[in-house]
């Protein structure tokens, strides 16, 4: 008989939550669409001769390259260090337990 009842309270809350999620999603999509429209609309035309020649600055590229190397290496060494510590600790625990069992 319980099956014929209207949806339980938790189900109704969940249902309400999904409506809210849909609303948030639609609002986000609308905002994106508006931002896109704003980007494609130009505010003024610039004659070609006045546009500055684009040179790509090298410093950010060099910086990002070295930063990536440092971050990658430090992250790996750190992760390795932690894993080693954990495994060594577990090893000690297990061998202690084995030792105490052997002694008893």
């Amino acid at each position: 008989m319980r099956v014929l009842h209207s949806r339980s309270r938790s189900a109704r809350v969940r249902g309400g939550r999904s409506w809210r999620q849909a609303g948030v999603l639609i609002a986000a999509l609308l905002a994106c669409g508006r931002a896109l429209a704003a980007q494609t609309a130009q505010t003024e035309f610039v004659p070609a001769s006045q546009v500055p020649v684009e040179t790509l600055p090298a410093a950010p590229l060099v910086f990002v390259a070295y930063a990536f190397v440092w971050v990658a290496l430090v992250a790996y060494v750190f992760a390795l260090w932690r894993k080693l510590g954990r495994v060594e600790r577990e090893m000690r625990q297990v061998s202690d337990r084995l030792e105490s069992r052997r002694r008893s």
Partner: protein
């Protein structure tokens, strides 16, 4: 062994700390300018990637034909380092290329096969992780094939036309650039050695731990 790893790591840390000063003092390259300085980390990382691939391949072969378990651990460590340093090569390279060539990526011989080689060792790691029991042996076969691919990477520059600076660049480096370069190479090699030892040790310890747990259950 722990002591050796710590010593090597210490040396590597000092060298890496000093590297930026040496690189900064080196002269800028005439056509590529500042962005060429990526070369000082990019090329040593590439050398170490090949070293990792080679270590993985040889260790895989030893494991495949002699079934020495330590070899399997070394192979895994080598593959991981090849992927780590390969990622460094594949990120620093395009950053350099964007300025030097105007594009992020070129489908020329050396880049393509470096990417392919990197993917072989990523596939090695994927196979070990998701292949289920017994995948160490299968991955060893992949490792051996990956290592055999490496010479083709080096040959590619000689055989195909490419915009990648040919390997002749390294032989003809002027001394103000050669010394920072050699410094970085040694730094990377020392770091590679330390990491290889440490990672192998982690695998061996894990295997020992598994055996210990099994012993405990008995």
């Amino acid at each position: 062994m722990n002591a050796l790893v710590s010593v090597l790591l210490g040396i590597a840390a000092v060298m890496f700390a000093g590297a930026p000063f040496l690189i900064d003092a080196a002269p800028q390259e005439s056509t590529m300018g500042l962005v060429q300085k990526i070369f000082y980390f990019h090329v040593p990382a590439a050398m170490v990637t090949f070293a990792g691939a080679f270590v993985c391949g040889v260790a895989s072969a030893v494991f495949l034909w002699r079934r020495r378990v330590t070899a399997d651990h070394v192979a895994l460590a080598g593959a991981e380092l090849a992927v780590l340093f390969g990622a460094i090569v594949l990120v620093t390279g395009p950053l350099w290329a964007r300025k030097a060539w105007g594009v992020w990526w070129q489908w020329d011989a050396r880049l393509t096969i470096t990417l392919v080689m990197w993917m072989v060792f990523v596939a090695y790691l994927i196979l070990r992780r998701f292949g289920g029991p017994g995948s160490e042996v299968l991955a060893a076969a992949v490792g051996v094939f990956g290592m055999v691919l490496v010479p083709f990477v080096y040959l590619s520059v000689e055989l195909w036309r490419t915009v990648h600076p040919t390997t002749n660049v390294i032989r003809s480096l002027p001394p103000e650039m050669a010394w920072p370069f050699r410094w970085c190479v040694i730094a990377f090699v020392v770091l590679f050695g330390a990491l290889l030892l440490a990672r192998t040790r982690l695998e061996s310890l894990r295997a020992a731990l598994d055996r210990a747990y099994l012993a405990e259950e008995d």
